[in-house]
């Protein structure tokens, strides 16, 4: 048991299990799964579905944190991507009264993702080429990004009526939500890329000791740029899922506080903010914990406002546990 406890995923999984148990205790039928309208149905499926955008963003954030960086602009990028897609699809109806898209769907989606990746690249350039601190570099886009999105929408919320777009956030594939498939594919793809190529080693080296990695010949600049670009892309994907879900693009509220949730998910999963070693699985579990938390609070009957307070306490707890000084204090007190 003790060796099991030392496994890095033990605590995140344990926390998730605890939350699920609490849910099940207060909400009979929480764990029930059914089949309806050709897909799986139940609270668990809901949680997975709603956690998908957070999972996607958090995966991107994991790599950024691993290289000792940070991206607090992801919320703004979500809004921008959603806006671009919604604008290109438009809220038009064709002659037959059916909802139509002003541009081909692949073009709208592609453009949105391209812009999102561009935002990530912008952040990366500021950090790598201009040498700015990551929190400041991404702060710029966080501040200005929503302004840009608002400008594009003219301050309006753009509604989308085009059904094929809804499948991203609301559709099902082989019984499971499409959004979940997207998240799973991203996770799988990342895992493959990081463990079957040198990318994983390089990222861990850059995060572990950036100067040493550079001396060893690792192309730190290029890799860091890619990581930030990917984070932007991930935020773009999440933006598409989110706006597809609500069938609109709200430049003001889309992705609000998402960066904070993403950082929390990464930290809960066990990746240290100091960079170096990281865990994708941990991040996914972290995202699930956050989503389950919202549902747990609802099940227990507490007002939803408690959500923020609980998240705060969680962050404090994880931070303290990750702190060597705290652990030393704790162990000294035990004697």
């Amino acid at each position: 048991m003790k060796r099991l406890a030392r496994h890095p995923l033990f605590w995140p999984l344990g926390a998730l299990a605890l939350l699920l148990a609490l849910n099940a205790a207060f909400n009979p039928g929480f764990l029930a799964l059914g089949w309806r309208d050709g897909h799986l149905y139940g609270h668990l499926v809901d949680i997975l579905n709603r956690a998908a955008p957070l999972m996607v963003v958090s995966l991107g954030m994991t790599l950024v944190i691993a290289v000792r960086g940070l991206d607090i602009s992801v919320g703004a990028v979500v809004a921008i991507a959603a806006t671009v897609a919604a604008l290109l699809i438009g809220g038009a109806f064709n002659a037959g009264g059916e909802a139509a898209s002003e541009h081909p769907l692949w073009l709208a989606l592609g453009a949105a993702l391209l812009v999102a990746a561009g935002c990530g690249l912008w952040n990366g350039l500021l950090v790598v080429k201009a040498g700015m601190q990551p929190i400041v570099a991404t702060l710029v886009l966080m501040v200005a990004g929503r302004g840009i999105a608002q400008l594009l929408t003219g301050g309006q919320i753009i509604t989308v009526y085009y059904p094929p777009f809804f499948t991203i956030g609301g559709g099902f594939l082989a019984g499971l939500p499409v959004a979940l498939w997207i998240a799973a594919a991203l996770w799988g793809g990342l895992h493959f890329a990081l463990s079957r190529t040198a990318l994983g080693l390089f990222i861990r080296a850059i995060g572990g000791n950036p100067e040493a990695a550079r001396v060893a010949g690792v192309r730190s600049g290029a890799i860091t740029l890619c990581v930030y670009t990917f984070c932007g892309l991930a935020a773009g994907i999440a933006g598409l899922i989110v706006s597809s879900n609500v069938r609109s693009a709200d430049a003001n509220n889309a992705g609000q506080l998402l960066e904070l949730d993403a950082i929390l998910a990464v930290t809960l999963g066990g990746t240290a903010l100091t960079g170096g070693r990281f865990t994708l699985a941990g991040t996914v579990i972290g995202a699930l914990i956050i989503q389950t938390l919202t549902s747990t609070i609802y099940s227990i009957g507490l007002p939803p406002e408690v959500n923020l307070v609980v998240k705060a306490v969680l962050v404090f707890a994880v931070m303290l546990l990750q702190s060597a000084d705290f652990r030393a204090l704790f162990m000294a007190a035990q004697r």
């Binding site: 079957r196 190529t197 040198a198 990318l199 080693l201 390089f202 861990r204 080296a205 572990g208 000791n209 100067e211 040493a212 990695a213 550079r214 001396v215 060893a216 010949g217 690792v218 192309r219 600049g221 170096g276 070693r277």
Partner: protein, 505 residues
């Protein structure tokens, strides 16, 4: 000559940290108006003793008496209040504040209650000016400390240390970054302070400096007190014997030379390379199978040269050719791809990635050279790492252990293993034997010779000139960030010193 009065007496000081007994029953006696040297190899316990004297750590056992009173410094601030001040290797001034403020920080003179009770800046500056004048230091008190060259920062740091009527001044490796003139200025200040009755504890690894300025020496070895000797009664060989613990005669083996006959073609040819403020334009050529030593005093540009050749720093002028062809060498990744390797001076900061395993550290440069296109699978990495660990005799709990757990010497070997894995054409070694005990040093020197015999061009930089003289096939002598000249193998230390001295006059 009667002994000067004792200012500080430390008795039976012991201190342990998890896993290691840093100090055991150590004695130290400091007298007024004397410069007392604290000597010992790396790991002897000098730093720990200083930290105890300055209140950073508390001793597990033992007592400290200052002017006859028993004291127990609880913190650097408390130690300063008691009269024990320290100046550390890095001058530790606040770069964004003025010299005056640095000198008076924490002890600001205050305006009277009626005038607001805030800090009296005019008085602050006056006090600073007065102190500097008393110590014979010529500095503008309003200048930001960060804008001063390292040597002047050092002097300012000493001024701060004695500003509070210090009875004991501890100088921890103060000359590491100073050139000969700057050392002279510092010693003048030390003599002045000695004349004023301050007891000075001087920690250094430069033997000649010990004999130039110190009155007594205390030697530590492996955390134990070896002895206290007046300088006049202990000569250099005796001092080294006390530090190392065995007779040195014959311990320094000749490194087997098997340099190929006839000059091989130049592998690396650097012409007119320079960087403003770091290195003046110079030419250097490295040939396969040859060890090119770089000798010079601190500050002569040795590390700067290495960093320019490896493209760690951007060069302002000059071209570098590899195998006779002009090379695009703008960043370390370029250098690695061209077959260069670099073991930096500071392995903790620029060498090892502490959290990664020994295996990953060893494989890193090779993988970096292969880029993302080709992948060195973990199984292959394991084979590679095990082979090199065995070949170099690296002592490790296993290749999966985090490299941070290894001792300094073994980390250094692992770093060299990293570059060996890339089969480099050129390997640049900056202070490869620093912080390694004598036995391991000898092993390492032999490995380096082996490497050169295999055809690699090696650049060997060391602060210990006798080491450079011993191993090199050719010696590049630097002085004041410029080339002073080149010497052939067997030139001997005297020739090197002569070349440095000649360039000076």
């Amino acid at each position: 000559m009667s002994d000067a009065p004792i200012v500080l007496q430390a008795r039976d000081i012991s201190r342990a940290f998890p896993g290691v007994q840093a100090l055991a029953d150590v004695q130290l006696t400091l007298r007024a108006g004397e410069v007392h040297a604290l000597m010992g190899q790396n790991g002897a316990g000098k730093s720990t003793l200083i930290r105890i004297l300055t209140g950073v750590h508390a001793p597990d056992a033992g007592s400290i008496e200052l002017l006859g009173q028993s004291v127990a410094p609880r913190s650097p601030l408390h130690a300063q209040e008691l009269g024990i001040s320290a100046v550390h290797q890095e001058s530790h001034l606040l770069p964004n504040l003025s010299v005056a403020e640095n000198i008076c920080a924490g002890r600001y003179p205050r305006l009277s209650w009626m005038r607001g009770g805030g800090i009296d800046w005019r008085e602050t500056r006056r006090r600073a000016r007065e102190l500097l004048a008393r110590l014979g230091i010529d500095l503008d008190v309003d200048q930001l400390a960060g804008g001063l060259p390292a040597a002047l920062q050092q002097l300012a740091a000493v001024a701060r240390a004695v500003a509070g009527d210090a009875r004991v001044l501890i100088l921890d490796e103060p000359t590491s970054s100073l050139d000969a003139d700057e050392v002279r200025a510092l010693f003048e200040l030390i003599r002045r302070l000695r004349g004023q009755g301050v007891a000075i504890l001087f920690v250094t690894h430069f033997l000649d400096q010990v004999y130039e300025i110190c009155d007594r020496i205390t030697v530590l070895r492996n955390g134990r007190f070896v002895g206290e000797y007046p300088c006049a009664r202990l000569d250099a060989p005796g001092l080294v014997a006390a530090m190392v613990g065995r007779e040195l005669a014959g311990a320094v083996e000749a490194v087997t030379h098997a340099a190929p006959e006839g000059a091989a073609a130049a592998v690396l040819s650097a012409r007119n390379v320079s960087r403003r403020g770091q290195l003046q334009p110079l030419d250097v050529e490295m040939r396969g199978g040859e060890i090119l030593g770089v000798a010079g005093l601190l500050g002569s540009g040795r590390t700067e040269l290495a960093r320019l050749l490896f493209a760690l720093d951007e060069r302002d002028t000059g071209d570098i050719e590899i195998d006779g062809r002009a090379a695009r060498l703008e960043r370390p990744a370029d250098a690695v791809r061209l077959g260069l390797g670099f073991c930096p001076e500071d392995r903790k900061h620029s060498g090892i990635v502490a959290d990664l395993s020994v295996r990953e550290n060893i494989a890193l440069a090779l993988q970096a050279r292969m880029g993302l296109r080709k992948f060195l699978a973990p199984a292959e990495q394991r084979v590679l790492a095990e082979k090199l660990v065995a070949a170099l005799g690296i002592s490790t709990p296993g290749i999966e252990a985090p490299i941070g757990q290894l001792s300094g010497g073994n980390q250094q070997k692992a770093l060299i293993a990293r570059w060996l894995a890339t089969h480099p054409r050129v390997l640049i070694l900056d202070e490869p034997t620093r912080g390694i005990d004598i036995a391991a040093k000898q092993e390492l020197m032999n490995e380096i010779r082996e490497l050169a015999n295999g055809g690699t061009a090696v650049l060997f930089i060391s602060a210990e000139i006798e080491e450079v003289a011993r191993i090199s096939d050719r010696i590049l002598v630097l002085r004041d960030r410029a080339k002073a000249g080149e010497l052939p193998r067997g030139a001997g230390e005297d020739a090197i010193y002569a070349l440095i001295a000649r360039a000076a006059s």
